[in-house]
Subunit: 221 residues, 2 copies
């Protein structure tokens, strides 16, 4: 790449990043239904005309935003720290759920819920939402399969079922947080209990949060 092309590309990337950040702020402030190109322009140093140069419609911009969300979400959660697969599974769920503790997160979850309610009407939004969901399920599936490999997860556990279960719980927690303001963390306890009772192999020596999750070995009395 020539120096000129390189800096043009860098400038384009900066512009794109700035528009995405402005979209995030505008969504938190106005929600989806009341969002306008002017709201987004107001959150950036761009004019409304300059936004329209990049995106014809609000839907087009939102689609680019959901794509950007997918990219940053998948980059952030591509790997999970943990001593073993069961630990990584719980950490992954904690991390995905705790996204909501960062500033503006409640407002953003609320706007995202409005966008989800567009799913039946805007096929392109639904496709982006499906990609994010498929990523969450893939990560859970991989971690559970690793756990079976490591002998810590029962070999009759279906990684697909666990993935569907985790994705449904995460959606449920996010919905409840927005709709009724529930943030009591009760779901984490339920999830840990589920892991202990339904996933951990009998006799496996697995500790999470200092608590041993392994089922009592059969010989023990």
């Amino acid at each position: 790449m020539s120096g000129e092309t390189e800096s043009a590309a860098a400038a384009a990337s900066d512009t794109s990043e700035a528009i995405m950040e402005a979209t995030y702020s505008a969504l938190c402030k106005h929600g989806y239904a009341d969002l306008t190109m002017q709201n987004i322009a107001d959150e950036s140093d761009k004019s409304k005309a300059s936004l329209h140069y990049h995106f014809d419609t609000k839907e087009e911009l939102l689609l680019a935003f959901l794509d950007h969300l997918y990219e940053s979400f998948t980059a952030e959660f591509a790997t999970t720290e943990g001593a073993h697969a069961v630990d990584r599974l719980i950490t992954f769920v904690d991390e995905v759920l705790c996204k909501s503790d960062v500033e503006g997160a409640e407002e953003f979850q609320t706007a995202l819920m409005e966008i989800k309610a567009q799913g039946p009407y805007v096929e392109t939004y639904r496709e982006e939402l499906e990609r994010i969901d498929a990523f969450v399920r893939d990560r859970v599936r991989e971690i559970v399969a690793d756990g079976i490999e490591e002998g810590l997860v029962r070999d009759d556990v279906d990684p697909d079922d666990t993935a569907a279960f985790v994705a449904t719980l995460v959606d449920g927690v996010n919905t409840r947080r927005v709709a009724i303001g529930e943030t009591d963390g009760s779901t984490r306890n339920i999830f840990v209990a589920y892991v202990r009772e339904n996933l951990v192999a009998p006799g496996a020596d697995v500790a999470v949060d200092g608590e041993t999750l392994g089922a009592v070995s059969e010989g023990e009395d």
Copy 2:
């Protein structure tokens, strides 16, 4: 009550019922964000002016609608058929989830999701949503407590935890149906597995859908 008062009360109740039905139809057709008093009037034999005679604002009408939803939901699910508590628990979850098979249900769930996204902004909506949620959790709590009493559910199961779990799953399923069109019923399998592994008492003779859910009794080999 005199005959005249009685028929006036009956007429008022008919009017109210007609407005609620028109609101349901208008929500299915237009969603919440685009809903107007005119849309609702168009679905009934009332004029917009006559709706305004009963309700000053769209928010006031929607609040009455959510109250009506609570009343019909709680009347419909006040009792659950079943041979025993575990059977009733699974039937209750099936029934709550299968609400979505009736005509217009997908459109209604979508509008309801928009209303849930208003939770952080409209406190009165949130209160109505909380009442419906509290009812679901109460029913689950009662059924699980009955199951412990009957000796079919393990006595170390916390009815509150189970109630929170079921409510979260139901919200997750409804969100996924709207956002990504998922209707594969995978959650029912997960739920039945959860009941089998986490709730049913060891040795209890419990059959659901012809499948025995009771954990293998300790003496069996």
